[in-house]
């Protein structure tokens, strides 16, 4: 469930979540099992970010009134 959700995150969401995960880990009073859980999440989020970066290609559209036309 969680993993599928991560796969659907936008870059901004994944990057933010990665930041959040790090922040939580750095709080200092995290128990070990929670830490490991966060680590697992960190791995998935990093992977998601990486995938998005690697597969990014610019989309350009021209908007004409209510019409949208894809251009390159």
């Amino acid at each position: 469930m969680e993993e599928k959700k991560i796969d659907e995150l936008s870059f901004e969401e994944a990057y933010g979540a990665l930041e959040e995960t790090l922040g939580e880990m750095e709080k200092g009073d995290v128990p070990l099992d929670k830490s490991l859980e966060l680590f697992k999440r960190g791995v998935l989020l990093y992977k998601r970010c990486k995938n998005l970066i690697d597969s990014a290609s610019l989309t350009v559209k021209e908007v004409l009134g209510d019409l949208e036309k894809e251009i390159d």
Binding site: S10, F11, E12, Y15, L18, E19, T21, L22, M25, E26, V30, L32, S35, L36, L38, F39, G42, V43, Y46, C49, K50, L52, I53, A56, S57, L58, T59, V60, K61, E62, V63, L64, G65, E68, I71
Partner: protein, 446 residues
């Protein structure tokens, strides 16, 4: 460092200026100031804001057909920059003057509008934040413009995750003003996250649409954050004052509206690295804590306590041993001292002294005994002498003889009877004889 005279310096500057192609053939824009003829020549200054350049036009009477150019007129003067050595100044030696648009009026209009909008507080509007990760970027510009191309290239390079939406509009000429406003409205209504209003460099007139009140008000009223990138770095238009962010160029606008994916990639890697470090450190922390607890447990375990006690015992034993040795060492000294003392004490001393004394006594005794012996010896000698005097053999030598009967010395005739065998001892031998007759003395006397 070099040293030179004034002439040499000016000549040097003249030579340096001659080498500068731009300054040898330049059109200078500015406002005419202090225009006056002196003979056939005209002298004036060109002013822009608080900057000024002196100008001279030789044969202006001919070149300008004695036309007077009024101060404040915006012109383009073509000529070259040279040094007037006599006064050590540089000037524009103008060959022609072209009176352009009435920039004065244009600028006045701009200033008036600026003041009006300022008084309305339009320029003080709070700036909307520009999203860091835009999903869709609306670009209001001409589809064929270099500005739009610059935006595309920049977004492609920096953040290809975003979608660029072009809202085409002409960007020059009065007919484009309305179009620009419409494009801005459409962009504002779209699902874009940010709107870029961009146009490449150009003259003041070229960029004028971006000073138009209707455009400025439209930008001011936009719900979406707007980033402007109009003209070059030095150009500022009124839309820049109402935009949420003013970039110096279209490229700059695209840069400010997008994060750098390369940096983000680095950032993500760094964050992940930190997560990794945090995990590793967490695990080693837990491990360390566990070890600590284990060690504490070990410390508290009876076995350990026993071992500790044993250790203490051992160390106490060692201490005792050491103390014993020290003590015995000390006592040893005491014993030695006592031995010495004992040695000097009587019995031992006596033991040592006694033989000596015994010897002495022995000697004394010897002396006493030998004295006694000597004395006895002399006594014996005396006796011997006495004895010798009483030796029976001595009278024998005088002619006396000794008569033994039956081994006994015969002192009286009574001891013998006739027939007895007598032994008569003489000094030089003995004689055996037989008694024939015995007579007493009286009988003999008779």
């Amino acid at each position: 460092m070099c040293e030179m005279g004034v002439i040499e310096l000016n000549e040097h500057v003249i030579e340096a200026l001659k080498k500068d192609k731009k300054l040898n053939d330049v059109v200078v824009r500015g406002e005419i100031s202090n225009f006056k003829y002196s003979g056939p020549h005209a002298y004036f200054s060109l002013v822009e804001s608080d900057s000024l350049v002196n100008c001279v036009m030789f044969n202006a009477a001919y070149k300008l057909k004695r036309r007077n150019i009024t101060d404040g007129t915006l012109v383009k003067a073509h000529g070259s920059i040279r040094v007037y050595a006599k006064r050590g100044i540089y000037q524009l030696y103008a060959e022609s003057i072209k009176e352009g648009t009435d920039y004065g009026a244009l600028y006045k209009k701009l200033e008036d509008l600026k003041k009006k909008l300022e008084s309305e507080g339009i320029f003080d509007k709070p700036k909307k934040p520009i999203p860091t990760f835009p999903k869709r970027i609306a670009v209001v510009s001409s589809r064929t413009s270099a500005a739009f191309r610059d935006v595309l290239n920049t977004v492609k390079k920096r953040y290809p995750l975003a979608e660029v939406m072009l809202f085409h509009t002409g960007v020059q000429g009065r007919e484009a003003i309305e179009e620009t406003v419409k494009a801005l409205s459409a962009a504002d209504k779209s699902n874009a996250d940010v709107v870029l209003l961009v146009r490449g460099g150009g003259s003041v007139e070229d960029l004028w649409n971006f000073n138009e009140e209707i455009v400025v008000r439209k930008v001011y009223n936009m719900k979406k954050p707007v980033v402007t990138g109009v003209g070059h770095e030095t150009d500022t238009t009124l839309v820049d004052h109402v935009a949420d962010l003013r970039a110096p160029t279209p490229t700059g606008a695209a840069e400010r509206a997008t994060p750098d994916l390369l940096e983000l990639s680095k950032g993500a890697r760094l964050k992940f690295q930190r997560i990794l470090n945090e995990t590793v450190s967490k695990i080693s922390n837990v491990d360390e804590r566990a070890s600590h607890v284990y060690n504490r447990l070990k410390t508290l375990s009876p076995k350990r306590l026993l071992a500790l006690k044993l250790q203490r015992l051992n160390s106490m034993m060692n201490e005792a041993k050491r103390n014993f040795f020290i003590l015995s060492d000390q006592k040893g000294h005491l014993v030695d001292r006592a031995a010495v003392a004992l040695k000097h004490a009587k019995p031992v001393r006596m033991m040592e002294v006694l033989p000596e004394r015994t010897n002495n006594d022995f000697d004394v005794l010897k002396r006493i005994i030998s004295t006694k012996i000597d004395r006895k010896a002399s006594d014996v000698n005396g006796l011997e002498i006495g004895l010798k005097a009483h030796d029976p053999k001595i009278p024998l030598k005088k002619g006396y003889s000794l008569i033994y009967s039956r081994g006994l010395l015969v002192r009286s005739v009574s001891q013998i009877k006739s027939g007895d065998f007598l032994k008569i001892m003489l000094s030089d031998g003995e004689v055996s004889s037989k008694v024939e007759e015995v007579r007493s003395g009286r009988e003999k006397d008779r």
